[in-house]
């Protein structure tokens, strides 16, 4: 990869990071928020992006790698524009989450780690979302959809495909 293709934070981002770092006793604490920024700006955390984050915070690449691979919300692989995350933990399971998840996989024609052909969707099974009163819960790009049903999810997918806001 040539230097020009390497990911690079915008000036505004760098200023934001500078300000953020000051709010912690040590710059290393800013690693997770900065990874979120990188993920937002570059879609996912490629090795180059991780190196960039390491450079910005003056950390070793290994320090960044350890964190990226420990936390499930940091993605090292690209995923669809909409990431559908179905909670299948106990309370959701007791309220039909397994069936919902199976249905959605079939409906989208993809399994976990895959992207629909239109590039719009990926799907994953996740752990308790902390919203068990709304079981089953589906997060769509971290927006909670509670008491989700096959119909409500299909409707959401249709809307996205039609280019409508959800």
């Amino acid at each position: 990869m040539s230097a020009s293709e390497m990911p690079k934070f915008s000036e505004e981002r760098l200023a934001e990071i500078d300000a953020l770092v000051k709010r912690y006793p040590s710059a290393k604490s800013a690693l997770m928020p900065v990874l979120y920024m990188a993920q937002q700006d570059f879609g996912y955390l490629s090795m180059d992006t991780q190196q960039m984050v390491a450079d910005v915070l003056q950390l070793r690449l290994m320090e960044v790698r350890e964190v990226v691979t420990f936390y499930t919300m940091f993605k090292e692989q690209p995923h669809g524009k909409y990431l559908l995350e179905v909670c299948t933990n106990a309370s959701c399971m007791l309220n039909g989450a397994d069936e919902l998840y199976a249905h959605m996989k079939e409906y989208l024609g993809i399994g976990p780690g895959e992207i629909t052909e239109d590039g719009l969707f990926s799907i994953a099974e996740v752990e308790c979302a902390g919203a068990c009163a709304g079981a089953p819960v589906v997060q769509v790009n971290n927006i909670y959809h509670e008491k989700a049903t096959a119909e409500s999810m299909e409707a959401l997918i249709t809307k996205v495909r039609a280019g409508e806001a959800i």
Binding site: R60, L61, R65, T69, F70
Partner: protein
């Protein structure tokens, strides 16, 4: 102190000790994997569980501090069940491939499985199969055997300071990973295989070559740097198979240089038989023929002697005895880096122990690439830095250390006077004075702001000053070191007549050398010049390679073209091409000799390896030459040599105690103290040219032994230093661009590729000693010009 009961025995340990350490100290066996006395506690393996009266569940003993009156039980039915279960957990994902594993026979997992395991596994699902890693030429991985104790990760963080190993993922996907390009960025990487309790990280060079139970062990001293680490040489059929840190030695680690030099012991470069030149080639000869040849070149000739300081003190003294009996006028050189020969030169060796240095409030490093030169001392400094204790450094480069350097200043060699002078002014202002400081100060007009940093470090309650090669090789070194002595006295770290600084020596046995050779020594450069000007007939080189090492390679080459060479040594190396005759001397692994390290620690090798060929201990070679030359043998056995040592080296008198059987632990050889106060002699400085030259040492390439080792040579290739570098500002000031540039020195003009780096001092040209422009090391200053001259 805390009193507690371990299995009903009352024991007393310092408060805050962990239960595990209390058990270890009192000889109670508790099994463990992740604990390591030199590393931080991780408490993750859970093998060290013990029961404590009143506690509902067993506790990990490695991370539980003792408490007054605590009742600890280390063996019970419940604990055995727990340990068996831990073994079962650990083994579910383990390949159980002991028969093909190098660690077999020296494996904690295997031992404990026998002692605590259940004998059969109940796991029937698929095993985890992590992939192996490329960790460079020294470390082999077999990650399926990893038990995730994280010792290696903690080692990389805390000891090597590289942080290039880490833990990825979580749960049973957890992986130990190294981020490496060619090799671990560590000169201590070989220790990884030692600290891995199982067969996941293995020694690559000895991989599949030998099994632990085939090895014979020999305690010895590493002479690859003045640290003189305690080593254990493992041999099979008298061949060196590997080198490891000795158990119970002063330091738990050794560096890769000391460890992987072992392949040089059995390389083609070893000198194992006498050889005599016949035309273009050297051919094996009998000792008698070779000695006869040597005599023909030495007898009645004007002889110059150059030797390396890492022979045993007996061997070194024998060199002096030969000189005195056979060549009473001969000048002797043993140091290839010194320009200033005034008396300071002999006062080498540390005035503090490395432990005291680690503990000092302040450490100030002056002009030294400690990581390359003394990796184990660097490791101590790293430990103090990790503990938040400051290190101040002044020198020509921000040498990479893998440690936090609290204060770091870049200066040129020609600035040292001004730095010391500024520090003197600062101390004077604080009312801290030393007799002689005024006179010193009066000779130096210039001031340099880095002196403030030096003074700041000096005013700490305790301060360890480490004086490195940039000063030791300086043209005005005697004056600089005298100035530093004055500073140490003024700051109250030492008394009049003493000096508190630690002058880092070039090699082993520095204390003895100053005593035994003080009156006959000369600069190697002067000696070579004399040879090339026809003032000498023959050079007697004893284990030294002045072309490959040191500052005078250009002069050495000229001399060697001109005069005859009699070579004595363990390694033939590049000197072979010049030698008329070669006499093989035993390697440090093969002698019953005594060694003194830079701190003054004494070691006597006890069960040396047997000779592989016809090589003889150095003292015998020297005595045989004396006999052949003048029919006189000054000493006929080791005892007589040792008697001579005590006579000639009063400072080393304590050696007698060690030879008489006293524990070497209680004996320290002091370094000689500053004899001649020397005032700055600025006029003599060769600074007519724009840039100061500093040459860089590579631990993988320096010394005939290292170059004879294929392993170290490979590491030298991987960790190659930049050939020539300057600070970008320097080029800008000279109106030049990075690239092909002409270097103008006293010996002419040459064109080289010159690179830039921010971490070198402006106004300095850095030369890798073993790089393409290595010969420039002999220069002190040069000019730089654009393009082809």
């Amino acid at each position: 102190m805390t009193e507690l009961f371990i299995n009903d025995e009352e024991v007393t340990v310092p408060a805050g000790t962990s239960i595990l350490e209390a058990c270890r100290k009192n000889g109670v066996d508790v099994p463990y994997f992740c604990y390591h006395p030199e590393l931080s506690v991780a408490a993750n393996c859970r093998m060290c569980l013990v029961e404590i009266e009143g506690m509902p569940k067993p506790l990990a003993s490695c991370c539980t501090p003792v408490a007054e009156g605590m009742k600890v039980i280390t063996h019970s039915e419940g604990l055995e069940k727990d340990r068996a279960m831990i073994m079962e957990y650990l083994l579910i994902n383990h390949p159980l491939d002991c028969p093909v594993c190098d660690q077999g026979g020296a494996c904690k997992l295997q031992d404990y499985a026998v002692e605590h395991g259940m004998g059969h596994g109940r796991y029937i699902d698929e095993k985890r199969v992590p992939s192996d890693k490329d960790l460079g030429p020294f470390v082999n991985t077999c990650m399926t055997r990893c038990i995730h104790c994280t010792r290696c990760v903690r080692f990389a963080d805390e000891i090597a300071g590289t942080g290039d190993m880490g833990v990825l993922n979580r749960g049973d996907h957890m992986l130990i990973e190294g981020i490496v390009e060619d090799a671990l960025e560590s000169e201590l990487s070989g220790n990884l295989s030692d600290i891995c309790p199982v067969g996941a990280l293995l020694d690559k060079p000895s991989h599949d070559v030998s099994r632990p139970w085939e090895m014979k062990k020999h305690k010895s001293t590493c002479t690859q740097c003045p640290q003189g680490c305690d080593i254990e040489i493992e041999s099979r059929n008298d061949e060196v198979m590997r080198i490891r840190p000795a158990k119970g030695g002063v330091e738990p680690w050794i560096c890769d240089r000391g460890r992987y030099v072992y392949d040089a012991f059995r390389s083609d470069n070893r000198l194992l038989t006498p050889r005599v030149r016949q035309g273009e080639t050297l051919t094996d000869a009998s000792w008698d023929d070779a000695i006869a040849k040597a005599v023909s070149l030495l007898k009645g000739k004007r002889v110059g002697i150059v030797f390396s300081p890492d022979w045993s003190v007996e061997g070194l003294t024998a060199i002096r005895l030969l000189r005195d009996t056979a060549f009473a006028d001969a000048k002797v050189a043993f140091e290839l880096h010194r320009r200033d020969m005034r008396p300071f030169a002999f006062e080498e060796g540390l005035s503090m122990s490395t432990k005291a240095i680690e503990g000092a409030d302040q450490v100030v490093v002056l002009g030294s690439d400690i990581r390359q030169r003394l990796p184990i001392l660097m490791q101590r400094l790293r430990k103090r830095a990790n503990a938040g204790k400051p290190i101040t450094r002044i020198g020509a480069m921000h040498y990479r250390t893998n440690a936090d350097i609290a204060v770091d200043a870049l200066i040129r060699p020609r600035d040292w006077h001004a730095v010391i002078a500024s520090a003197m002014v600062q101390l004077t202002e604080l009312g801290k004075l030393a007799a002689g400081m005024d006179a010193w100060l009066a000779k130096v007009d210039a001031r340099h702001e880095a002196g403030k940093l030096l003074a700041d470090a000096l005013i700490a309650d305790s301060c360890a000053m480490l004086v490195g090669e940039e000063i030791r090789c300086h043209e005005d070194a005697a004056a600089l070191i005298h100035g530093l002595d004055l500073l140490m006295r003024a700051a109250g770290h030492t008394e009049v007549g003493k000096d508190g600084r630690n002058l880092l020596p070039e090699g082993m046995n520095a204390q003895l050398l100053s005593d035994v050779f003080g009156d006959v020594r000369t600069s190697a450069g002067t000696l070579f010049d004399a040879a090339s000007q026809g003032e000498l007939d023959t050079l007697l080189l004893v284990g030294s390679d002045p072309v490959g090492d040191g500052l005078f390679s250009r002069q050495a080459k000229a001399a060697l073209e001109k005069v005859d060479l009699v070579q004595v040594g363990a390694i033939s190396g590049d000197m072979g091409q010049y030698a008329a005759v070669q006499l093989p001397a035993s390697a440090y692994s093969e002698v019953e000799g005594t060694f003194i390290n830079m701190e003054g620690r004494v070691r006597v090798a006890e069960n040396p390896l047997r000779s592989l060929g016809e090589e003889r201990p150095m003292w015998k070679v020297m005595m045989r030459l004396a006999q052949a030359l003048v029919h006189e043998v000054p000493a006929v056995n080791l005892d007589e040599i040792r008697k001579e040592i005590i006579e000639r080296a009063p400072l080393c008198a304590a050696l007698a105690d060690v030879w008489a059987g006293e524990s070497a632990k209680s004996v320290f050889i002091p370094s000689a103290r500053n004899k001649g106060a020397t005032l700055p002699n600025m006029a003599s400085l060769n600074v007519a040219k724009a840039l100061d030259v500093v040459s860089r040492y590579s631990m993988y390439r320096e010394g005939a032994w290292a170059r004879a080792s294929a392993l170290l040579s490979e590491a030298g290739r991987i960790h190659a230093l930049d050939d020539l570098i300057v600070h970008p500002e320097t080029l800008k000031e000279l109106g030049l661009e990075q690239g092909e540039l002409t270097v103008l020195s006293n010996t002419g003009a040459e064109t080289f590729e010159v690179g830039t780096r921010e971490d070198v001092s402006p106004g300095v040209l850095f030369v890798a000693k073993r790089g393409v422009a290595g010969d420039l090391s002999g220069e002190t200053s040069v000019d730089l010009q654009g393009g082809q001259s």
